[in-house]
C-alpha cells in the first residue's frame, strides 16, 4: 500500500514541478502565468459541460493509452502511437469510401476492422525490425510517425480529396451521416461502450491471463522469462500488434465520430498525450482511465483557449511536455517523507 501512495504522491509532486516550469515559460514568452492557468482550468474542468468535453477527448486518448501501456509493460518503447492512429484512420477512411452506399450495419464494422488492421500493420514493421534484427524501436516508430503524417497529407490531397473543399486545408470527403457513430460533439453511447469494452478486455488481458503476467515479467527481466520457456518474441510481437490496433481503433473513432472526415495533420498531439497518460498512470489499465479524463480535459482546453480566452493553444502542448519531462523522475525524497510519516503514525 505504501508503494501505491508513494507513486501517486510522486506523480503529483512532479506534475506540480512541471506546472511551475510552465509558469516560468509562459512569463518568459510574455503571457501572464496566473491568467493562463486560470483560463486552462476554466477550459478543462470548470466551465459548464466540462465533463462531457473531457470525455469526448479522453475516451479516444484512453484507448490509445491502454495500447501504449501494454507495449511499455512488455518492455518495448513503441512511441509510434501517433502514426498508428493516423494509419488506422486512413485505412478506415478508404474502406468507408469503397463501401459507400452499403448499409451502415456492414460499413461501420468493416471500417473498425480496417482501422485496427491499419494501426496494427503500422506497428508490425517496427516490431519485426526490433525483434528480428534488434533495430531500435524508439527511432523506427518515431520515423513511422513522420511518414504516417506525410501519407495523411498525401491521402487527403490525393486519392481521398474532397473536390468541393474550399482549398484552405486539404481534407477528405465527409462521411455519410449514416456511417457516423456520433455527432460533431463527439460523445455517443457507441463510443462510451467501445471504450468500456476495450478497458475491460485489456484489464483482463493484463491482470488475468498468462500473456499479461508474462509480458509484465518480460518487460522487467526478459532473460528469466526466456529461461522459463516462454517465447519472448511472440510476446513482443503481440504487444506491438495490440498497441497498434488500439491506436488504429482510436483513429477510427475520431474519424467516424467527432471529425467525420480526414484532414492533413489532424489531432497532432494525440499519440504523445497517450504516452503521457500511460506513464502518469504507472502503466496500469485502470489508472489510465482516470488519468485520460484529466488529459482529455486539457485537450478540450486546447480548443477553448484560442476561442474563449484569446490565448494560444500551444500552452497545452507546453504543459504536456513539462509533465513528460518530470513524470519518470524518481526522487528518493518522497519515499523518505512517506516512510517517515508512516513511522510517526504507527508510533502515535
Amino acid at each position: 500500500m505504501t508503494d501505491r501512495i508513494v507513486s501517486v504522491l510522486r506523480a503529483i509532486v512532479f506534475i506540480g514541478i512541471g506546472l511551475a516550469l510552465c509558469g516560468v515559460i509562459f512569463e518568459i514568452a510574455g503571457y501572464s502565468a496566473p491568467l493562463m492557468f486560470q483560463s486552462i482550468a476554466d477550459g478543462a474542468f470548470l466551465r459548464s459541460g466540462a465533463l462531457g468535453h473531457a470525455l469526448r477527448w479522453g475516451l479516444p486518448l484512453f484507448i490509445t493509452a491502454v495500447g501504449v501501456a501494454i507495449s511499455f509493460r512488455a518492455g518495448y518503447f513503441n512511441i509510434g502511437a501517433q502514426g498508428q492512429f493516423y494509419m488506422g484512420a486512413i485505412a478506415a477512411a478508404f474502406v468507408a469510401e469503397w463501401l459507400n452506399g452499403w448499409p451502415a450495419m456492414i460499413v461501420i464494422p468493416a471500417c473498425f476492422v480496417a482501422g485496427m488492421t491499419g494501426g496494427a500493420l503500422w506497428a508490425l514493421w517496427p516490431g519485426l525490425l526490433r525483434l528480428k534484427s534488434g533495430a531500435d524501436e524508439v527511432i523506427t516508430t518515431l520515423m513511422g510517425n513522420f511518414l504516417a503524417s506525410l501519407v495523411l497529407v498525401y491521402v487527403t490531397s490525393g486519392p481521398l480529396k474532397d473536390p468541393s473543399g474550399s482549398g484552405q486545408q486539404a481534407s477528405s470527403r465527409p462521411l455519410d451521416a449514416a456511417y457516423r457513430i456520433s455527432t460533431s460533439y463527439g460523445l455517443s453511447p457507441t463510443i462510451v461502450a467501445l471504450a468500456v469494452l476495450v478497458g475491460v478486455l485489456m484489464w483482463l488481458l493484463v491482470n488475468r491471463t498468462a500473456f499479461g503476467v508474462l509480458a509484465g515479467l518480460a518487460g522487467r527481466n526478459p532473460t528469466m522469462v526466456e529461461w522459463q520457456g516462454a517465447r519472448i518474441w511472440r510476446i513482443g510481437l503481440a504487444s506491438f500488434l495490440i498497441s497498434g490496433a488500439l491506436a488504429g481503433l482510436a483513429g477510427t473513432i475520431e474519424l467516424m465520430g467527432p471529425n467525420g472526415r480526414l484532414a492533413g495533420g489532424f489531432l497532432p498531439g494525440h499519440g504523445f498525450t497517450a504516452i503521457l497518460i500511460a506513464l502518469v498512470a504507472g502503466l496500469s489499465v485502470a489508472g489510465t482511465a482516470f488519468v485520460a479524463l484529466f488529459f482529455g480535459g486539457l485537450a478540450s482546453a486546447a480548443l477553448f483557449l484560442p476561442v474563449m480566452a484569446g490565448l494560444p493553444s500551444a500552452a497545452i502542448d507546453i504543459i504536456n511536455a513539462a509533465i513528460a519531462l518530470f513524470i519518470t523522475a524518481k526522487s528518493g525524497m518522497i519515499d523518505r517523507i512517506v516512510k517517515f510519516g508512516r513511522r510517526a503514525w504507527t508510533r502515535s
Binding site: 512532479f14 516550469l21 515559460i25 509562459f26 518568459i28 514568452a29 510574455g30 503571457y31 518492455g75 518495448y76 518503447f77 512511441i79 525490425l129 534484427s133 534488434g134 533495430a135 531500435d136 524508439v138 527511432i139 523506427t140 518515431l142 520515423m143 513511422g144 513522420f146 511518414l147 506525410l150 501519407v151 497529407v153 498525401y154 490531397s157 490525393g158 518480460a218 518487460g219 522487467r220 527481466n221 526478459p222 504523445f272 504516452i275 506513464l279 494560444p312 500551444a314 500552452a315 502542448d317 507546453i318 504536456n320 511536455a321 513539462a322 509533465i323 513528460a324 519531462l325 518530470f326 513524470i327 519518470t328 523522475a329 524518481k330 526522487s331
Partner: protein, 297 residues
Amino acid sequence: MDEIIVAILRSGTPLVYVTLAGVIAQRAGIWHLGLEGLMITGACATILGIVLTGSLALALLIAVVLCIVGSILFWFVVEKLRANQIIAGLGLTGLGLGGTSLAVQSIFGAQAAVTAPFGLPRLGPAFGAYGALSVLVLLMPVFVFAIWVLLRRTRFGLRLAASGEHPFAARGVGVNPSIMRLVALVLGGALCALAGAELAAGSLQIFAQNMTAGRGFMGFAAVIFGAGHPVGATFAAIFFAVVGAIGIRAQLVFGDRIPHDLLLGLPYIATVFGIWLSAKLRGGARAAVGFGELRDP
C-alpha cells in the same frame, strides 16, 4: 552537379551539427532525444533575436544561452532526478516545439512564419556556385575534426567515454561522471544552437513553427548509424541529406508521376534503413530492460 552538392550541404549542415551534439552526449552515456527541441529553440532564438535586436552576434548569443539552459534542465532531470532519458528527452523536445510557437504567437500574433532581414554571413561570390552557403558550412569540417580530437585524442575525451561506459571506473580514478555528463550536454546544447541557427538563418532567414521536422531525431539516428564516432556519424548525417536531396531531385524529374509528399518521406525511410543496418552489423542496440536509465556511478 554543383546544384546538387549545394542542396546536400544546405540540408546536411544543420544535421551534422545536431549529430555532433548527439555524439558527445552518447559518449557520456546519454541517449539524447531532446536534440530536436534544442535545435528548434536555436532556430527560433536566432531569427527572433535578429528581428528584435538587429544584431547577429547578440541573436546567436541568445540562442546558445537558451539551448545551454535547456541542456542543464535536461541534465538535472536525467542525472539528479533519475528520469527516463527517452521520455524526458521527448518532453524537452515538446517544450522546445511548444515554447517556440508560443513565443512567435506572443510577439507576432497568429503568424505562420517570421522573416529576418538578414541571416548568417555568406561565403560570397568568390566561391562561385557555393557563394550562397553560410560560413557555418565551411566551418563544419573544422567542428567535426575538433570534436574528433576532443573525444579521441584528449584526456577529457577519455574521461567522458569512461563516464559513459563505466562510470564506476571513472569514479575510481577521481572523475565525477555526473559533472562530465553536464559538460557533455552543455557542449551539445551549444552545437544544437548552431544547428538551429544554420537551419533558420543559413540560407533561408525564416523561422516557421515545427520547421525542424524531425531533424533532431535523425541526428540521433545518425549517432547510432555512425556507431557514436564523430566522423562516422557525420557521414551518416550526410547520407540522410543525400537521400533527401535525391527526393527533391526526383520531384523535378518525375514531376507529378510520383506524389511529392511521399518523396519527402525518403529521409525518414533512409533513417529506418540506417538503424536496421547498424543493428544488423553491430548486433541489437540494447537489451529491453534498463534502456533509458543512467548507469549508476
